[in-house]
């Protein structure tokens, strides 16, 4: 019975096939909020917003930092077209930490010219990276 909970998950980036396998659940952030997907989900296309991607496989879970892209969800298959995605091993901790501080600083010392949206996404991205490493 356990097999029946699995669906095919493919994560494709412009440079490579990032992940391809069977998963029972996948969770990530979208523009509409955090979602978790099981098999037999209603077919949906969602836009990714920066956050943590968690893949639940039979053997355990895997995490990655997913920053941009979109996902096509079908009943027995999920395809994530990721513009930027990283495994924990590929993240530079120092750079993420520095980016976080920079973004926070920009949000603190807000002036009318500050691109708040951009600073917020940068902060989200840095936080996702830091979280995944930990």
């Amino acid at each position: 019975m356990a097999d029946n909970n699995l669906f095919t998950l493919r994560i494709i980036t412009p440079d490579r096939v990032f992940y391809e396998g069977e998963a029972s659940m996948v969770e990530f952030n979208t523009t509409e909020g955090e979602i978790g997907i099981y098999k037999q989900h209603v077919p949906t296309t969602v836009i990714v917003s920066p956050g943590i991607l968690t893949i639940t496989e039979e053997g355990g879970t895997k995490e990655a930092a997913l920053h941009a892209g979109f996902a096509e969800i079908l009943q027995d298959e999920v395809v994530i077209l990721a513009e930027i995605i990283e495994w924990p091993g590929e993240i530079d901790a120092g750079r993420a930490e520095a980016a976080k501080e920079r973004a926070e600083e920009r949000l603190r010392s807000k002036t009318p010219e500050t691109d708040v949206l951009r600073a917020e996404t940068a902060l989200q991205r840095a936080l996702a990276r830091i979280h995944v490493i930990k």
Binding site: I12, P14, R16, T31, P43, T45, F70, E72, E83, I84
Partner: protein
Amino acid sequence: MASMRDIKRRKGSIQSTQQITKAMKLVSTVKLQRAKQNAEKSGNYFHCMYDTVSSILKRTKNLDHKYLKSGASGKKAVIVITSNRGLAGGYNSNVVKLITRGELAEEDLAVYAIGKKGKEALQRQYEIKADYSDIIDEPVYVDAMAICKEVLEAFSKGEISEIYLAYTAFKNTVVHVPTLLKLLPVEINGEEAPEGSGEDAQSSRAPMNFEPEDEEALNLLIPKYITSLIYGGMIEAVASENGARMQAMDSATSNAEEMIDHLTLMYNRARQGSITQELTEIIAGANAIS
């Protein structure tokens, strides 16, 4: 007939040129292999992207969206992807010809150049809006994102009304097709569904939902779509460049081979001629003495 020494010198110089072209051919063969792999890897992403965007656009035919209609100003932008280096046969000039010969009017064209050669060829006639030549040596996705952002900003502001991409499509190692592609406004006609079976299978299933709604989804998706087209164009252009250079260097090497053969023959003839002449002179001299 040229003297023996002249022929020998000429032959030597052709030989060293041949060595260079041979080495260049080997280098571009290796580079081509790598570029081909990249092109295959990114193809996956691009196809999924194209399928998704076309399926959205099919469902929302009568949508009044800024990316689906051309703006008021008559200006057109062309992103021209060429190489930074020459010696690649007709590779660069074929792309340039697409623009100079095409139906695009000279005065209302803004060129976004990727690649020095294209920029040099076009800057006399056209306005070069921006130059991204450094990135073509090693295209990465982030570069495509930056270019995309800039052209889309110009589009949203109404500075340009249409965006084209001129690049060389990589069909296989020997066939490269210079292509002029319209990026914006997005046009996807119903006929363009080469793998019709996949399309049918999808429509027979439950209808696709979009979160957020169609219009907002388009706002977010189309920049990604354009970015992937630009990136795909750069990757294919690099593969084509190396393919074109490999071919050009291959024919240069065989031309040099031919010339060397010809010169060797001439050299031997000249050598034999001089020996014969010397002998005739000696015999004539001996006859005169006796």
